[in-house]
């Protein structure tokens, strides 16, 4: 990892997909998520020298979240004047985000996660969507590992209950022994 360009490529390779997934959970639009993640990597390129290897994952996902929220705020302001363009775009491109939504289970789960209390939602996203471990999550959320365990436990438990109430049959199949 001594060579910075090598390091950058490795990070890109490893975190590209987790970051796009994570950004998507805020933007709900694949194109926006991609733009956010591209920005994150450009920012990474500027800061790479000052980053310790152990802190890269928490750093990336923190920046990603902030960028996604910025992006979201900006977009929600301009959306009214821009609908025509967006529609045009939607018809000319394959529209991966809509297709993606046909994966109902994943979409439903993402929605349920979106309904969790803030901190739990954050922890659950970092765990299951971003794939971070407890230690990295604790750093990204600036809290203790014990707290991460607590948040994830309660997040998972309430997701499980909600999932069961939505789809008792599928839920049964998941947990059937």
């Amino acid at each position: 990892m001594s060579d910075p360009s090598h390091a950058f490529t490795e990070i890109l390779q490893r975190y590209e997909r987790p970051l796009v997934r994570y950004a998507f959970s805020f933007t709900a639009d694949l194109e926006d998520a991609r733009d956010v993640v591209q920005d994150v990597f450009i920012k990474l390129h500027h800061h790479l020298a000052g980053l310790d290897e152990d802190h890269i994952a928490p750093w990336l996902f923190t920046v990603c979240k902030n960028r996604a929220l910025d992006h979201h705020r900006k977009n929600s302001r301009i959306i009214s004047m821009d609908t025509e363009t967006l529609e045009l775009e939607a018809s000319s491109e394959p529209g991966p985000s809509e297709e993606m939504e046909t994966r109902e289970t994943a979409a439903t789960l993402r929605q349920l996660i979106g309904e969790l209390p803030d901190r739990q939602r954050e922890a659950v996203r970092l765990k299951f969507i971003a794939g971070l471990d407890y230690k990295q999550i604790s750093e990204a959320m600036k809290t203790s590992m014990g707290n991460v365990g607590y948040l994830i436990h309660h997040g998972v438990e309430s997701l499980r209950k909600r999932w069961q109430s939505i789809d008792p049959e599928a839920a049964l199949a998941i947990s059937k022994h």
């Binding site: 490795e10 733009d35 994943a106 471990d133």
Partner: protein, 723 residues
Amino acid sequence: MKPEQITAWALNELPAEDQPKIEAALQADPDVLYQADEVKSFCDFLSAELRDEDFALSEDQRGALAALAALPPPTALAESTPWWRRYAIANIATAAAVVVISGVLMIKQEKQHVTEEFVLTGDDLKVQAAPVLPDKADARKKEMSPVPQPGKPSVTGLGDASRPGLVASPPADAFIAPDVVAAAPPSPVLRNVELNLGQTMDRVIQRSSMDRQDYAPPEIPQRFGYVVEPQYDRKANTETYSQFIENTVQEVARVPLSTFSIDVDTASYSNVRRFLNQNMLPPQEAVRIEELVNYFPYDIDGPAADKDPFAVHVELSQCPWQPQHRLARIAIKGQEIGMEHRNSNLVFLVDVSGSMNEPNKLPLVQQSLRMLTERLGEEGRVSLVVYAGQSGVVLPSTNGMKKAEILAAVDNLRAGGGTHGSAGIKLAYEQAVSGFIKDGVNRVILCTDGDFNVGTTSPEELEKLIAEKARSGVFLSVLGYGSGNLQDRTMETLADKGNGNYAYIDNLAEARKVLVEQMSGTLVTIAKDVKVQVEFNPAQVRGYRLIGYENRLLAKEDFNDDTKDAGEIGAGHTVTALYEIVPASLPLDAEPQPLVDALKYQNQVAAASPLPEEKLTPAAETDEVMTVKLRYKKPDGNVSQLIEVPVKDEGKKLKAASREFKFTASVAGFGLLLRDSAYKGQLTWDSIRQLAREGKGPDKNGYRGEFLQLIEKAAAMTPSRPQ
């Protein structure tokens, strides 16, 4: 135990020091264990559903970022500059740099253009076209079948759009391998890459500034995609399995001998279990019946002391799925050798590439190695070699008593980088050879997800390398980890060529089974190149079918050929082979399935009735059904020895069959149904469940109980298949 700890356990996130305590607490209380399993199933389900590999950057963005990697970071910018200005400046600077590089290269390149151009014919395109974003309607299907599905092309028609079916699209995850980017442009091909990246970069930067309607996919990146194609990282293209075709029914009159190499691998079972636990049916290619059957320890007698290294037992009974047929179970049991007082020289070779950075990969590898280390005594020596982009010896050969040292090295492992498998393998074998212990256990233990993507690591080359290294007398164990990227085929082949075994570790319990409970079987080889040849008596048997072992078949001549490689048996291992047998006494028209249609140009004599009397030897007059022959070599020997076992059929009904027979039959049936085999006959999930229950026995380690749960899961998922 706190509820958070159960969730942490389910996610493999327990601190190492809590691990044994929690595991013990779980084992002690079935209710809590049940609850914990439920949490784990749900967590696995969440991970599986939410880790959608299709969420990725676009081709151009990725190309642009890869180009950015080659540029030095802008250090001159003051921290006080607002982020958006830094940004704009950086972008402009980057773009300018790229334009300059492109320009220079373009001029340089002009003259050589004709010879250097990467020429692609239509056929090349067709072959290399890889998915960009697979149809989402197909997303499920894709999960089920690991074979890449042709996706929707993002850009069509490179040159020749009129030819039907010819679409060009860059590979989905065309990634510049680190080596390519890091290197200065020494070769014409590399210059091409950078040139194209420059152009892509401009466009993407434009696009980032919300200039979307102007955005048109650049044409050139296709070429760049193909230029680096041989090295790209197939992340999205999940898991690979070898295709194989089920063994068919053979006629004894035509093919009286059946020859195969034994197989002690068990990976297919744990892999199938992973799929079922995620509520998915495994791809048919992932179901290797012999590995399912051989996953379970069986309660059979080992060899008498001072005799052969293993005992052979054969049992015949009614075939559960074809009651008029017989099922022969050949079970080979290796002698038990305790690991405790064996001199051993173990080299852990751990893949620490970026793809291992998942909770169920490197952390699980570390836990596995910790468990194994705990078991080592002073006769054991351990070294630790890692590989990613580079490989290195992390821990030189260390005495097993220095546990703190070993554990510290294990705990220090971190994932990152590409996967240069061959260099690591070479280094590990060098370590093993330099510390070689005569008459001891010399073994490389490779822990990986099998995704070798850097360097000259085509499967064929790796195989050659391993086969060559195996001659040094060092054995190989391959432990497969993780999901989503599992290169099942590569790993099985490596273990096969490297005189070794392959196990798939999907959780801590599996690690314990392979490395602690069956440690000596995994690590101590008692016989190598073990081959089986069965000769059927045509007076008794009309046809037979070997169940499983499709990729272990040998030609009949190979049996006596000591240069032909075959499988290894570990201490205490049980290896089982099953034959479905069509008795000669069965009236022709009574068969559930005719073997083949009547021949048009030959009389029926040879096709379906016993051979004429004069062709039979006196031995055929006996009531022997078959003779099982085994050849094996001592672990350090080169000359094989032969064991022969004649077998008679006592006409046992299924009810009277032994417990182990019933359980084996149930596992094989489970595989037949999962493969939706043409030979599944009258099998139903109910009949499999019934057999498994009758065959369950004391089930000390709970493996059979778990199998019963898998039957329920599989049954619930295949309602549409005929029951």
